[in-house]
């Protein structure tokens, strides 16, 4: 399909707050994003012309923020509201190989929905992982460097060469990716074996490093993972915040060149996939 026909739903509820820059990322590349309040998908409190169907879109994006305040667990309430009515639709959306992207709070929502890690199943009934409070016990807003380690499964990073290090900044208080402790090692191995690990935190020399380069203490320095099908991708750092070079924290040192930022190819990759696949 043509790029300008690709419709992307940027989902939001109260407390979602990175929707504008997420919308802009798709828009700048020529796609057709739309802000969609969850109630429009659920058909609550809206007029006929305001109702939306998941299958009216080729891509769902759950942006960052503090949905519903995140007073319980990051993303838990947003996920519960989605699941209440849309579980079946989402499951078949993913099975039909439409992509879903979750950034920061969106990643938390995908975990709570059971769409990630998605190792043996498309959507688990209960969450199989959690994004726990950072080791520092603090909100961390800082530049993070992500090494791309996916070997081709993740459709959101197809344009990023394997081994490339990208500056994609983080801003979260709950980003430590944990699995049931007794199975943690096994699951991490499995993720790696299945090519579901997409990004790991590294230091400026490209080495795996502890705090602050790994801002939350995630085991294995994992910053982002995809499901087994490669079409659901969640990550804590914000690719929409380095769409342009002028958004980088050190651009006055490095210069702007053509003003392409390190996060842009995440959006280019998924749009490229949609255009080819559908």
């Amino acid at each position: 399909m043509k790029l300008e026909d690709v419709k992307v739903a940027v989902l939001r509820i109260e407390g979602t707050n990175c929707e504008q820059e997420s919308y802009d990322a798709f828009k700048r590349l020529g796609a057709y994003p739309e802000f969609v309040h969850l109630k429009q998908l659920l058909g609550i409190d809206c007029n006929k012309d305001e109702k939306r169907d998941v299958f009216g879109f080729q891509c769902l994006m759950i942006p960052g923020g503090f949905s519903a305040g995140d007073y319980i667990r990051g993303g838990a309430i947003f996920a519960a509201r989605i699941k209440s009515k849309l579980q079946k639709s989402l499951e078949s959306f993913v099975k039909q190989e439409y992509p879903i992207l979750g950034v920061c709070n969106g990643f938390q929502v995908l975990i709570e929905l059971g769409l990630l890690p998605g190792i043996d199943t498309v959507m688990s009934d209960v969450p199989q992982a959690c994004l726990n409070i950072n080791d520092s016990d603090r909100f961390e807003c800082r530049p993070t460097l992500l090494k791309h380690e996916n070997n081709g499964k993740c459709i959101f990073t197809s344009k990023i060469p394997n081994g490339d290090v990208r500056l994609i900044p983080s801003a979260h208080a709950e980003g430590k990716l944990l699995f049931p402790l007794e199975r943690q090692e096994k699951i991490l191995d499995e993720l790696e074996k299945n090519d579901q690990v997409v990004f790991r935190y590294v230091d400026p020399d490209g080495n795996y490093a502890g705090y602050p380069w790994n801002p939350n203490g995630s085991p294995g320095n994992i910053a982002g993972i995809c499901n087994d099908l490669g079409n659901v991708f969640g990550l804590m750092p914000h690719p929409e915040r380095t769409f342009y070079r002028h958004q980088h924290p050190d651009w006055t040192q490095s210069g702007l060149d053509d003003n392409v930022g390190d996060g842009r190819e995440v959006f280019e990759s998924v749009l490229d996939y949609i255009c080819k696949r559908f």
């Binding site: 990175c18 409190d45 995140d70 914000h238 958004q247 924290p249 050190d250 006055t252």
Partner: protein, 787 residues
């Protein structure tokens, strides 16, 4: 004194409803009524009220007196500050200001305005730091939204006592500065991050004078299309009042009167209920639906609930348009049952907005609010007479002429006398001492909490949400970032035009010399903006002072206003918005006079912005601007040397103007690689920060700087109007030529080098430090205390 007999219960009423018998009260009893009801009104104001009701030939109701207490509080009607503000601050380049209501509005480009506001939330934060600071942040964002602005930046200047203050010396009822610092930062973080507005700038300052009364100032900036600007006034009688957002509760009752008195040792007990409770997740959708209704042209007027609650909002919306209001209090959504009507009327519960809507649009507005799950209720209408009438369960409980209600008192110097202290006294105390080892001094300065890295704070705030922060609060090479002078955002998707923001005051200058301290604040604000390549465009002030009833405190206020006005007038910089906070005193002492200044500058093309970190080795380094003088009064150097006296830096605004033009021109032409303003800690700290940010050293020689000065004064003097600039190696001639043409003084003092910072004065080596050593002491100082 028993004044119970003066409160007369109305027998005909279905609820508890009192008249207050002012007529039979003598002066002493009038004052006692004011105290008993928490009105904070002076005797003259009570007498004036009595006369008003005598003319009306009826006793006032309890709620009417409460409403007057709010409307006439220092916080709401600026009674002590109006005269000096009018004399000095107003009237500068007024034609630039499009509107000055809850926020000021100024043009951004041909299609857009920006708006900004800065205010204090001091007393609530001193009693309950987390909630106080959070609601401060929540309140200021409403000031932006109610002008039609989309909030794009927070600015949070904070002032605390010393972090290592001994616990056993803390006065009763005073919380430790470390507790306050952490609580305030937590509050700003949890609220600001949740509503998705980046916290871009601010100031964190520690000084013993803030021990009993910390200062929490909050600023917010917004942007709007020109046609989206909306005013805080009705358009026509018949406009419907729609109450939107959070419910009303007992929190925040008497907030404004609490803010208009000194803190005491039992403020914790007595005033806790004056602190509101913030809820960002109610607020966030309120912002969305307010802006959506406004964008769709459904609103006639818009105002946020601030100090004084419903009482002030309803009256002002109507009165400013020459109309009146009829309000039905029983329709107001409540957090809990059993609130008395007067509590509903003056509660300052958070997250509330008032829409004025034409009757035909009410349904559409309610639908939009419903979609965002935001409470919205019709509670009254605009009427033709200039009167506020309030009903509860069908009974009229308040009827006040609006010109009386909003015509609060104004105090001139006959009621608020002032005395101006002689700054010379402190100057004379300056003692001579031998020059110490400057390597140690430099390291001590870099570790001084007022200079040390504020990373501990900055990284807890999301300063990148919205994706528009192009020059961040921490600048430079990854892992070596140091403080920038100003933060720059690019607020529009399809334009490279930028908006720069900074916030400054030097309390040590201010406590010594209010006039030159205020001038220095304007100077530093301009220096900061110019350093990134922004042309200063407007100012906001938040004037934090002591008790205005004390003549010496009022004198400080006059002198500060005079300084701000004198400096801003020469620069043609208008004060677009402002706030006055008096009574910043506690059991211990008053705070140093603190007129916080937020400056906004415009950048034509953000791609030309300059940061403070050194970029390349072998680039020449210049000191640009005013001659360095021995102006050590209030300097960080004297503070860590435990010595006092000396003169506070003066400023020559005309020279500042030349320098600003010169530097903006060399930035525009892309001749320079980095630029940093010289302020606390002088040249020594300035160059260290530039070196830290770029992880690049420098060879400096101070010999060409004011030859009459000793090396330590050259290095650490905080004389105004100075910048350190790293010039691109191949642009030196052009650079000097441009500065000459703008009559901007400069002197070459060295060049960037690898690894070490080496400073000589003539042949004498005074500083030789590894960058990593400087980085460690500077970066870790606050982390080590706060963990």
């Amino acid at each position: 004194m028993d004044i119970d007999r003066l409160f007369k219960k109305r027998k005909d009423s279905s609820f508890n409803f009192y008249n207050v018998d002012l007529f039979s009260a003598n002066d002493e009893e009038l004052q006692a009524i004011s105290n008993e009801m928490g009105l904070a009104l002076a005797l003259a104001e009570m007498q004036r009220t009595k006369e008003y009701f005598q003319k009306k030939n009826r006793l006032p109701t309890y709620i009417e007196l409460q409403a007057l207490g709010q409307a006439w509080s220092e916080h709401c009607c600026y009674k002590s500050s109006k005269v000096p503000l009018k004399k000095y601050i107003y009237g500068i380049k007024e034609d630039k200001i499009i509107a000055r209501e809850d926020a000021g509005i100024v043009e951004f480009d041909k299609d857009h305005y920006y708006c900004a506001a800065l205010e204090s939330h001091n007393h609530p934060s001193a009693v309950e730091p987390y909630g106080g600071a959070a609601t401060g942040v929540g309140g200021i964002v409403r000031d932006i939204v109610c002008m039609g602005g989309r909030p794009i930046a927070y600015v949070d200047p904070l002032f605390f006592g010393l972090l290592d203050y001994p616990f056993d010396k803390l006065p009763k009822g005073v919380k430790h500065p470390r507790f306050l610092f952490k609580g305030v930062v937590d509050g700003i973080r949890d609220y600001g991050n949740r509503i998705g507005v980046p916290t871009l700038s601010g100031q964190v300052y520690f000084h013993e004078g803030y021990t009993g009364n910390c200062l929490v100032n909050v600023g917010c900036i917004g942007i709007m299309k020109k046609e989206e600007m909306i005013h805080s006034r009705a358009k026509a009688p018949g406009n419907i009042y729609i109450y939107v957002g959070g419910k009303t509760g007992r929190d925040g009752i008497h907030g404004v009167t609490f803010a208009s008195a000194e803190l005491t040792d039992d403020s914790e007990e007595s005033s806790r209920s004056a602190v509101q409770v913030g809820d960002p997740i109610t607020k966030e959708p309120v912002i969305h639906c307010t802006l959506e209704c406004n964008r769709k042209g459904l609103l006639e007027g818009l105002k946020d609930f601030g100090g004084g609650g419903l009482s002030c909002v309803c009256g002002e919306l109507a009165y400013d348009a020459g109309f009146g209001a009829e309000i039905h209090l029983d329709k107001v959504p409540l957090k809990e049952e059993g609130l008395a009507p007067w509590e509903i009327w003056i509660s300052e519960s958070q997250e509330r907005m008032m829409f004025l809507v034409a009757p035909e649009n009410v349904k559409k507005v309610l639908h939009i609010c419903k979609q965002w799950d935001v409470t919205a209720v019709e509670i009254g209408k605009v009427i033709d007479e200039q009167i506020t009438r309030v009903f509860f369960k069908g009974e009229k409980i308040l009827e006040l002429d609006l010109d009386f209600f909003t015509g609060g008192p104004v105090y001139d110097c006959s009621i608020r006398p002032y005395t101006i202290l002689d700054a010379k006294k402190l100057e004379q105390k300056e003692k001579m001492f031998d020059q110490p080892d400057l390597n140690n001094v430099l390291k001590n300065l870099l570790a001084s909490p007022n200079i040390a890295s504020k990373e501990w704070v900055i990284r807890q705030y999301d300063h990148e949400v919205q994706g528009n922060t192009v020059i961040k609060p921490l600048q430079g090479k990854l892992d070596y970032e140091s403080h920038g002078d100003a933060t720059v955002i690019k607020p529009l998707e399809d334009s490279f035009k930028g908006l720069a923001v900074t916030a400054n005051i030097n309390p040590r200058f201010m406590e010594r010399d209010q006039y030159w301290g205020a001038c220095s604040a304007i100077d530093e604000t301009c220096r900061n903006l110019v350093a990134v390549g922004a042309k200063p465009d407007s100012l906001c002030d938040c004037l934090n002072f002591g008790n205005p009833e004390k003549p010496e405190k009022m004198g400080e206020f006059y002198e500060a206003c005079r300084g701000l006005g004198d400096a801003a007038r020469v620069l043609n910089l208008p004060f677009m918005s402002g706030n006055v906070s008096f009574y910043n005193e506690s059991v211990k002492t008053a705070v140093p006079p603190t007129p916080e200044i937020m400056g906004i500058g415009l950048v034509e093309d953000i791609r030309k912005c300059v940061t403070s970190d050194f970029k390349k080795t072998d680039n020449p380094i210049y000191l640009v601007g005013k001659e360095t003088e021995k102006e050590m009064g209030g300097s960080e150097y004297y503070s860590i040397m435990n010595t006092d006296g000396g003169i506070v830096p003066k400023t020559d605004i005309k020279l500042l103007k030349n320098c600003m033009e010169g530097i903006l021109s060399v930035i525009e032409k892309e001749f320079i690689a980095s630029c940093h303003d010289v302020s606390e800690g002088g040249i020594g700290v300035c160059i260290s920060e530039m070196a830290i940010g770029g992880n690049i050293g420098a060879n400096i020689n101070l010999s060409k700087i004011n030859k009459d000065l000793r090396s330590d004064f050259k290095l650490f003097s905080e004389s105004n109007t100075r910048w350190i600039i790293e010039v691109k190696k191949d642009k030196v001639k052009e650079f000097e030529k441009i500065l000459d043409s703008f009559k901007t003084p400069y002197v070459k003092i060295g060049q960037t080098k690898k690894a070490n910072l080496l400073i000589k004065d003539n042949d004498c080596k005074i500083i030789d430090q590894k960058i990593n050593t400087l980085l460690d002491v500077w970066k870790n100082a606050i982390w080590n205390i706060m963990g």
